[in-house]
């Protein structure tokens, strides 16, 4: 696959402008704190590309994923889908758009109703949106099973009869049932065995080419994110700290956090184990009470005076980093 070139030509499929999502946190009876799960994210997602979201747990990547497709209300900012502002849409007004945005979850087992047969699981979204019934629905289910490379005989079986990888295929088929344009994949392979992860990643890539899908891929394993993403957004404490084309972000990170995150990944080559590397110390601080200035400064080995007080903004053309003193 090549880098999407239409990014400057056409309008993005999804535009986020300063999107914020807060959760209340009870500090005392009267004093209510808030957790800034997503704090001012601006991001364009173009048709046909895959934007990977990475960061440590608690960085807000999953919340952002759910907010994008309006499974959560945003507290500030604007969300535009295909040029149409959907930020404040009611559930009813979202309904016609729902078919175009779907989600694939991390744990395929808990997101599938154990008492439903595969064909019911797959036909349910069709029926819910008044799409084909009866024989037509049957045919659609068959096609969906073909798409995710499951045998057609699986239609009358129950989720527990499948392995983890097959269940994730069912989850993908369900997401595809309504012919969506945008799919948010929330760590779709983290719960799977290593040997099966590759199957699912390949499948997601094939489906994207075949159905012209757009993905937002939330990833735990950075290897998988690198494999599947066209662009990557690195998140830290609710903010995007680096955004750019995948190879450039992974090969020449500009934000110290990205660099340290990448250095932390164990390399599957024992000859490289003695390489010089910096180990990122500490753990991500509590998003309820983020540090002033650059949020990364308490853990940053390169932090200087300015970082303590002044929050950097995401700058740079094509390959942006939110850092006063970017690397390279």
């Amino acid at each position: 696959m090549t880098v999407i070139t239409e990014s400057n030509a056409s309008r993005p499929l999804l535009q986020l402008e300063g999107v914020k999502k807060y959760y209340p946190s009870r500090k005392g009876l009267f004093a209510k704190g808030r957790i800034q799960a997503v704090d001012g994210v601006t991001l364009d997602v173009h048709a046909g590309e895959t934007v990977g979201l990475v960061g440590e747990s608690g960085c807000g990547k999953s919340t952002l994923g759910r907010t994008i497709i309006r499974l959560e209300h945003s507290d500030a900012g604007r969300i535009l889908y295909d040029g149409e502002e959907i930020t404040a849409y009611s559930v009813r007004r979202m309904r016609p758009l729902r078919t175009q945005m779907q989600m694939i979850f991390q744990d395929p087992y808990s997101s599938l109703n154990p008492r439903q047969r595969v064909e019911d699981i797959l036909a349910e979204p069709l029926i819910a949106h008044g799409l084909p019934r009866g024989e037509d629905a049957r045919r659609s289910v068959g096609k969906l099973l073909d798409l995710v490379q499951l045998p057609r005989s699986s239609r009358s079986r129950y989720p527990h009869e499948f392995s983890g990888g097959q269940r994730q295929r069912i989850g993908i088929a369900r997401a595809l049932a309504l012919k969506p344009r945008l799919i948010v994949c929330d760590e779709p392979v983290s719960a799977l065995d290593v040997s099966v992860q590759a199957q699912i990643l390949n499948l997601l890539k094939d489906l994207q080419d075949e159905l012209k899908l757009t993905y937002v891929f939330i990833g735990h394993g950075l290897g998988a994110v690198r494999y599947i993403s066209t662009r990557v957004a690195v998140m830290y404490l609710g903010k995007i700290v680096e955004l750019g084309e995948t190879n450039r972000v992974f090969d020449a990170p500009r934000h110290p956090y990205t660099s340290l995150l990448l250095q932390a990944i164990p390399v599957a080559d024992p000859r490289r184990r003695l390489r010089e590397r910096l180990v990122l110390q500490g753990e991500a601080p509590n998003p309820e009470n983020p540090p002033p200035g650059c949020r990364f400064h308490p853990r940053c080995p390169f932090a200087r005076e300015r970082c303590f007080s002044e929050a950097p903004s995401l700058t740079g053309n094509g390959h942006a980093a939110a850092c006063h003193y970017p690397l390279g």
């Binding site: 440590e56 747990s57 065995d193 290593v194 390949n202 932390a264 390399v267 753990e283």
Partner: protein
């Protein structure tokens, strides 16, 4: 003396279930030298966790060692009484687990749980036990160790809890530390910190480590020796450099190829291993890997291969691999 901290020979573990007996681990053989790290790598259902628990004989009511031997510094553990095993657990062999969030008792302080081990296995009592516990917390890199001593597990992050678990495990200077996926539940940044800590502690004390993981990256970082497990059996053992340079078993090769590479070849497809790990109740006949194996021949469907010596200090359980070896040896001889 054998010169090994741990020697496991032909270890088979059986569990009683409603559907009859299953053997999650069969014919396990490996050995670990003092100060050495052995990684057992495998996917879910490979039996790696059961193998670890069987070394401590913590298999519960329905499980037990069916055959084979486990020797710690030459002493046979399978014939020890439960009382004798209890004094070995936590003192000679310690273990840390995958989920630091649930592996500490939520209603006792960190200090209480630490000193419990110290009081059980050493002469330290009262202030001496506390001092040692605080020192262990400091050694594993926990900030404010005196304060953390009196805190409950829920106040600590996952990484800090895993550090506390490690402090507990190494408090009595065990000769063998078993770590069952100690970093799987943690962020990659915290994983790097924990792995570094384990390396440092082992290097300082000569403790041997059996590290169980599914992550080949962790194996490459940590291991001296590697045992690859599939469906309850070891399919390949080797030193870490030979294994990554030249994996002999098709399963090992498949695992390595299915990793999204970090090099330049991002384009194109990953080579996945087809199918899934078989459940214990439906193990295939012959070689357990043959339904997923690209090299399977007719013999693989009917005859189970043995774990056979391959190159120097390597073993592999595969008809094709050992056949190749034989042909290779034949050519060399002729």
């Amino acid at each position: 003396m054998s010169g090994y901290t741990l020697e496991v020979e032909n270890l088979t573990v059986a569990f009683r279930t409603e559907l009859g007996e299953v053997r999650p681990v069969e014919g396990l053989t490996f050995a670990v030298k003092p100060g050495e790290t052995l990684c057992i790598v495998g996917e879910s259902g490979s039996g790696k966790t059961v193998a670890a628990l069987s070394l401590l004989r913590l298999l519960g009511k329905n499980g037990g060692i069916r055959a084979g031997s486990v020797r710690l510094n030459g002493e046979e553990l399978t014939r020890k009484s439960e009382t004798e095993m209890r004094s070995i657990r936590g003192r000679d062999i310690a273990m840390i687990f995958q989920e630091p969030m649930v592996s500490l008792n939520p209603v006792f302080t960190i200090g209480h749980q630490l000193t419990e081990a110290i009081r059980l296995h050493t002469d330290r009592r009262g202030k001496a036990a506390k001092a040692h516990a605080v020192e262990m917390l400091r050694r594993v890199g926990i900030p404010r160790p005196e304060a953390v001593y009196g805190e409950y597990p829920h106040t600590l992050s996952g990484g800090m809890r895993q550090r506390a678990m490690i402090a507990m495990a190494v408090a009595c200077e065990p000769r063998l530390l078993i770590a069952d996926e100690p970093t799987t539940a943690l962020d990659v940044t915290v994983q790097a910190q924990i792995l570094e800590l384990m390396k440092r502690l082992a290097a300082g004390s000569g403790t041997s480590i059996v590290l169980i993981t599914h992550d080949l990256g962790v194996v490459a970082e940590m291991a001296d020796q590697v045992a690859v497990m599939y469906a309850g059996q070891i399919v390949e053992t080797a030193d870490v450099y030979s294994l990554f340079e030249n994996p002999l078993h098709p399963y090992t090769r498949g695992l390595m190829r299915s990793l999204p590479a970090f090099g330049s070849e991002r384009e194109g497809r990953l080579s996945a291993i087809p199918g899934a790990v078989p459940p214990l109740s439906r193990l295939p006949r012959g070689c357990r890997f043959h339904p997923r194996c690209p090299m399977a021949e007719s013999i693989c469907e009917s005859e189970e291969p043995e774990l056979q010596p391959a190159e120097v200090s390597r073993r592999v359980r595969c008809w094709a691999a050992s056949g190749e070896i034989r042909r290779f040896a034949g050519r060399q001889g002729g």
